[in-house]
């Protein structure tokens, strides 16, 4: 017997770029994260050929869970064709050979930054969110060790105080994106900078959500059918972005989250989710398009029921 028979054949890269140990470590952290919804699990965060802050956390999770039967969709601010999304998609496809898609219903793994697709995700689908700041306390409590203690005690007075300050000084809550949410009654988590409109898509969802911050070396998860509730005072209702009366310039849709497009003669609006927009346009042209159920939300359009 020769030595070559006992070893693996030499390859340039391991399947899905990361070595098997790294992937196993991420998977083990993911299992823990799923078991304790909203709890930030530390992990090693390996080097990937991309700068920290460009989605390395999400990428490592995607690379760790992807397999030959997966179909991948990558979006950035709702768009499949932005630079960040295109690069990530090309990289993962090259390293694994998986099929990619822009259709949120076909994809088994969706890596995203700043948005959750408009169509309701189904059982078996996995949403991977890239996270810049995993700890909601990072805005208010500089000490990491104290923040961990506060998480353990479920003492979130400081986060509530931030809402109180906004309401007192400005008359409304100014958290913008990344509004803190209470997960299954214990941990408050940073949902990554998704608009407040998207928070409803995490509550009692059919799909699994994995959130990962590469630079901060933390990942956490929202398992299917978990309560995810935005922090809001009992007598001051939670508000999503005000987009009443906005109409998508391309599809004519009056629902969904819109981007503002500055024009010479004012502003126009266009749906932020390009995969969904593409399907609406195909339907408009009379071509076949399978459009998924719109996900449940308190309001059809941001701000319409206020």
């Amino acid at each position: 017997m020769k030595l070559a028979d006992l070893t693996h054949a030499r390859t340039d890269y391991n399947y899905a770029f990361l070595d098997e140990h790294a992937k196993r470590e991420v998977r083990r952290a993911l299992l823990k994260a799923v078991a304790v919804p909203g709890y930030q699990v530390p992990y090693a965060s390996r080097e990937v050929p991309m700068a920290r802050g460009w989605g390395t956390g999400g990428l490592q999770v995607t690379l760790s869970i992807i397999g030959e039967s997966s179909r991948l969709k990558v979006i950035d601010q709702g768009a499949d064709d932005s630079v960040n999304a295109a690069n990530l998609r090309r990289f993962v496809a090259r390293m694994t050979g998986v099929q990619t898609t822009t259709d949120a219903l076909e994809a088994t793994v969706i890596q995203s930054r700043h948005r959750i697709p408009e169509e309701e995700l189904q059982t078996g689908q996995v949403l991977v969110l890239q996270v810049p700041l995993p700890d909601p306390f990072s805005y208010v409590e500089p000490s990491r060790s104290l923040a961990r203690e506060l998480h353990a005690d479920s003492d979130y007075a400081l986060l509530w105080l931030r809402l109180y300050e906004d309401l007192t000084l400005h008359g409304e809550v100014l958290t913008g994106a990344d509004h803190p949410v209470l997960v299954q009654g214990h941990y408050v988590m940073a949902p990554s900078p998704i608009p407040r409109y998207d928070l409803a898509a995490l509550h009692q969802a059919h799909h699994l959500t994995l959130l990962s911050a590469g630079r901060e070396k933390r990942l956490y998860a929202v398992p299917p059918y978990t309560d995810v509730l935005p922090l809001a005072f009992d007598d001051v209702p939670f508000q999503i972005e005000r987009q009443q009366g906005w109409v998508c310039q391309q599809s004519g849709a009056q629902h969904g989250f819109m981007n503002e497009v500055p024009q010479e003669d004012g502003r126009s609006y266009v749906l932020s989710d390009t995969g969904y927009l593409e399907k609406l346009l195909r339907q408009k042209r009379g071509e076949p398009a399978i459009i998924g159920a719109r996900r449940k939300s308190q309001q059809d359009q941001p701000g319409s029921a206020l």
Binding site: A157, T168, D234, D235
Partner: protein, 265 residues
Amino acid sequence: MTLASSLLLPPQLLQVGALLEVSGLQMVYGRVSAVRGVSFELYPGEVLGIVGESGSGKSTVLRLLNLEERPSAGTYRLAHHQDLFALSRQEQRAARVRDIGIVYQNPHLGLRLRYSSSGNIAERMLTAGERRFRVLREVARASLSASEFPLIRMDDPPQVLSGGMQQRVQLAKAIALEPQLLLLDEPTTGLDVSVQARVLDTLRHLQSERAVSMIIVSHDLGVIRTLADRVLVMRHGQVVERGLTDQVLEDPQHPYTQQLVHAKL
């Protein structure tokens, strides 16, 4: 009941059980014994003063009473809690929020200087689980007016307020949840004399209106004389003299107390 038997009854104060009982309190830091076997009790509505020079262990006693540290030995009964030192960290947290209020000498220990003054009071209620914005506002307003803070400035951050005002915010935060026990750690040290007098006035009003039970630590005998019913004199981690304030300050028995009173008066 005959006249003779009623004379034998203890004074009214003693018929009420003590609100707080501390016994055998010890605190050792390495080779230093900061507190060595301190025991005392506090009755409802009473103000107890603790005096002593720097390093006598009075501030350590206060920190232990505020559950900031665990003592080397001792028990601490407060209201319905049998022994606060024996509780878990979480239970201690809850007890601290509900039953103990504290005013520090240095406002930055007790306040978030960048948040609004009313927010500082709201924080305490939020910790206790209040989730109604309107209630937070109302309690903050009531509590600040009880500590005689000008309400027009209730949303200003403490960092732009004067020292006396900051102490009032601390006081309002301490009494917001109507705690069983109010701890004051040199509350007026570092304020100028006229402001000091007004803050002491507020404390006296509060004491007479709400019958708050207080423990006040100070090296300033004037403050102790103004506020305290009883006084403990501490030296080297031990209580060297105790008694009614007037009695101790007018007729000190222990040589150290005599020295202290003469130095001050």
